[in-house]
Every structure is written in structure tokens, then in C-alpha cells.
């Protein structure tokens, strides 16, 4: 993603450090971490901090954003969803063929073409990168947990009502009645996937708890 604004706080740093410790224990060649959670929960922020921590240990990390892999580009997505109905909102909206191809490129140390949404103009650009030097992938996204072959599946937990405020703060999407319906639907889908995680990070409102 290009032109994204990240506001990194202590909770993101703590979460990233906890995941980092686990990864340093367990990692092997061509390791894949997925970070899942609701909209606005801090997936990008945690990925970013985690990436930097690993880089300091000499691990070459690439961060992949599943938001770049929607079949329907951002400018047309709301219209598409209104036309096809709210039940079509979910992991089927991703271009899984492309995701799997890029994962294969990573494992095979190849050059790879990745999509990259420019948030400034909602255009989908392409990034050509070389996976030969990359040891580890951090894949973040609403439904990244659906990547079965991931080595570590992390779930960051907050209810969608908490993330509603986060959404408004980041201002990535216009907030209206339809957007709220979409968030509700995405929340339902994510909750059904939660049990597939290996590792849970919990930002409880009363106290921050991080646990496996």
C-alpha cells in the first residue's frame, strides 16, 4: 500500500514485541506470519513494528497487505457491494489466485509482481520485488488467517464497535449507514475465523492483556 498513515502507539509496540519473541523462537526458512483482526484494530501498525524488530535482528522481512488483493478496486467496491448484496462481503472478495501465486514466488525465491493500492488516488499500482533475499513474510488483512500454509497465525482482538472509532480516526473510508453494514458483516465473518488462529493478542479496554 502506498500513502497509508500509521499511528503507532504503545499497545501496538507491546503486541509486536510479544509476537517477535515467539517468532524468534520458532522461525525457520521462508517463514510466513499472518495477522488478522477487524478493521481499525492495528494490523498494519503491529506489522510495521514487528517488521522493524525483525530487521534489527538481520531478518529480511516483507510486509504484504491483503487490502491490496481485492478483485474489485477501491473506487468501484461500494457500488459492487450494493449491487451484489452484503452477503458477498467476505474473503471471496480477495484475488486468491494472485495471493497464492505471490506466496509461491516467495517460497521459490523468485521475482514477483504484487498489487499495491495507492490510497491517494485509489489506483492499483504494481510492485516488482525480488523474494530471493526475503526470509520472512508478514501478511496482514481481515482474512489473512485463511492462508492455510502460514506458519504462525496471529489474531488481534477488539470488537467492531471499538474499531468504529478507530475507523473514524484513520478516515480511510467514508463512514455512513452502508459502511456500518459492511463492518458488521466483516465482523461476523472474522469472528467465524477466529478459532483458526494459533496466537491471540487482546487489547482489552480495562487492561491490556497479551496472551497465547
Amino acid at each position: 500500500m502506498l500513502n497509508d498513515i500509521l499511528i503507532i502507539n504503545k499497545a501496538h509496540e507491546k503486541a509486536a514485541k510479544t509476537i517477535f519473541d515467539k517468532v524468534m523462537e520458532e522461525r525457520k526458512e521462508k517463514y510466513i506470519i499472518t495477522i488478522t483482526g477487524e478493521v481499525g484494530v492495528g494490523k498494519c501498525e503491529v506489522s510495521h513494528v514487528l517488521g522493524k524488530l525483525l530487521k534489527n535482528e538481520g531478518v529480511m522481512v516483507k510486509i504484504i497487505h491483503m487490502d491490496d488483493y481485492y478483485k474489485i478496486p477501491p473506487g468501484m467496491r461500494t457500488e459492487w457491494r450494493k449491487k451484489h448484496g452484503i452477503r458477498r462481503v467476505g474473503y471471496e472478495e480477495y484475488n486468491w489466485t494472485l495471493i497464492n501465486r505471490n506466496l509461491e514466488d516467495f517460497r521459490s525465491n523468485r521475482e514477483s509482481e504484487l498489487p499495491s493500492v495507492d490510497l491517494m488516488n485509489d489506483q492499483v499500482d504494481k510492485i516488482l520485488t525480488n523474494f530471493a533475499q526475503i526470509d520472512l513474510l508478514i501478511i496482514n488483512g481481515l482474512y489473512s488467517i485463511k492462508i492455510d500454509s502460514a506458519d504462525l497465525k496471529v489474531f488481534i482482538d477488539l470488537t467492531y464497535k471499538d474499531t468504529f472509532d478507530e475507523q473514524k480516526a484513520t478516515g480511510k473510508e467514508l463512514m455512513d449507514a452502508f459502511r456500518l453494514k459492511v463492518l458488521q458483516r466483516e465482523h461476523q465473518v472474522i469472528q467465524t475465523l477466529k478459532s483458526e488462529a494459533d496466537f491471540y493478542v487482546d487489547f482489552d479496554e480495562n487492561y491490556e492483556s497479551l496472551h497465547f
Binding site: N3, I5, G51, K55, M120, Q123, K126, I127
Partner: protein
């Protein structure tokens, strides 16, 4: 740049608010705006905020970071500079001006364009392909951005690396040491030499100063 963390604050927004009407007033097709300033002065932040405000005016503006266009790869640059001497190597010639010109030409001609894009997490140089059709303006930010040919509005941020030292450390973008300080000093000299090219200044207090054009009135 991939993985760049911008710290956008009120001062960037306030400066952009003053600059925006000037851009709208002088608007031309396929407009090029450039922002120069030393490391940590807020070039990228200002470019970002301006692009967002322009979008609200239905103008599609894309930021272009020409700090992506160094000839020498980030991981090899320190060695190169030490070998050739900081005074000789640090400066305009570090940019790949041929590729910059080509990409700007692609922009003017509504073409699909490929450009370098540094991933700040890996420090790898990836290649970004984008379609300039439908992009109305480019906001070019970088140390020496206002030196680029064909710029319509040149913005110069006056903060020097002394003032921004704290911000540099907080961002953690580059390691702070003796060598880095020498580079910053040399970059400072080169950037300051571009002052006279500027149309708009952002002063030490981050206020916008627009000098009236010479000889415009009797």
C-alpha cells in the same frame, strides 16, 4: 516509499492550508509541485497533506518521493560515500536524473510508468508501475526536488537538520553517528544553495511565506 511512517501534525496541515489556494490559483494541466528541505523537515508529510487537500478539490495529486532515485543502493551508499569522500559524493549527482526525467515525461504524457520504490523495511529497491493517466498533479518531494526541470511551484522548507535532529532520532530512519552528521552537514550546504530557486518558503516556525514577484508592480 514503502513502509514509511509519517508523523503528520497540525503544523503540516496549517502550512498546506495556506499553500493550497496558491496552487489552485496557478493551476495548470499536468502541474508539477516540488518540495525541498533537509532531512526531517517534513517534506513528505507536507506533500501528503497537500495531496489529500487537493483530492477534496477533485484534483488527483500523486506524491513522488525522489529520495527513491538515488543511483547507489541504500545499503551500499555509506561505503560509496566514504570511499569517494563526503564532500565530493553527497549532492545532486547522487540522484538518477535520467530516470526522474523519464518518469516526469511519462506523467506529462499520461503513460504507464515504472519507477524505483524503496522498501524501508527491507531497504530493497522494488520497481513500482503506475498509470499516470488520470493523475492531474505530481508533488515531488526530496532534498533537491526543486532543482528538477519543469516545476511550476517550488516550495522550500527552511528547517535545518539541527532543528530536526530530535525528529530524526524519534523516527529511527537512519542511524545517528559521526559519519551521518557529516553527511547531514554536506546535504545541508547543498540544500541551502537551492534557496533562491524557491517560490514559496516554509519558515522556521513552519509558517508559509510567499515573496511578492519582483517587478510585478510599479
Amino acid at each position: 516509499m514503502l513502509g514509511d511512517v509519517l508523523l503528520i501534525t497540525e503544523k503540516h496541515e496549517n502550512a498546506a492550508k495556506v499553500i493550497l489556494p496558491v496552487i489552485l490559483e496557478r493551476k495548470v494541466s499536468k502541474m508539477l509541485i516540488a518540495i525541498s528541505g533537509e532531512s526531517g523537515s517534513g517534506k513528505t508529510e507536507l506533500a501528503h497533506v497537500l495531496a489529500k487537500m487537493l483530492r477534496k478539490e477533485s484534483i488527483i495529486a500523486k506524491p513522488l518521493h525522489i529520495d527513491n532515485y538515488y543511483r547507489i543502493h541504500p545499503l551500499l551508499r555509506t561505503e560509496w560515500r566514504k570511499k569517494n569522500g563526503i564532500d565530493k559524493s553527497v549532492g545532486f549527482t547522487e540522484y538518477d536524473w535520467d530516470t526522474i526525467s523519464k518518469n516526469l515525461d511519462d506523467f506529462r504524457n499520461n503513460r504507464v510508468s515504472t519507477m524505483p520504490c524503496i522498501d524501508l523495511v527491507t531497504e530493497q529497491v522494488d520497481q513500482l508501475t503506475t498509470d499516470f493517466k488520470g493523475v492531474d498533479m505530481l508533488i515531488v518531494d526530496g532534498l533537491y526536488a526543486i532543482k528538477t526541470d519543469g516545476i511550476h511551484i517550488r516550495i522550500f522548507i527552511e528547517l535545518t537538520y539541527h532543528e530536526t535532529k530530535k525528529a530524526q532520532v524519534v523516527r529511527g530512519k537512519e542511524p545517528q553517528n559521526e559519519y551521518r552528521m557529516q553527511v547531514l552537514e554536506r546535504e545541508h550546504q547543498v540544500v541551502q544553495s537551492l534557496r533562491s530557486m524557491a517560490d514559496i518558503f516554509v519558515n522556521m516556525e513552519y509558517q508559509v511565506v510567499i515573496p511578492s514577484t519582483k517587478g510585478s508592480r510599479l
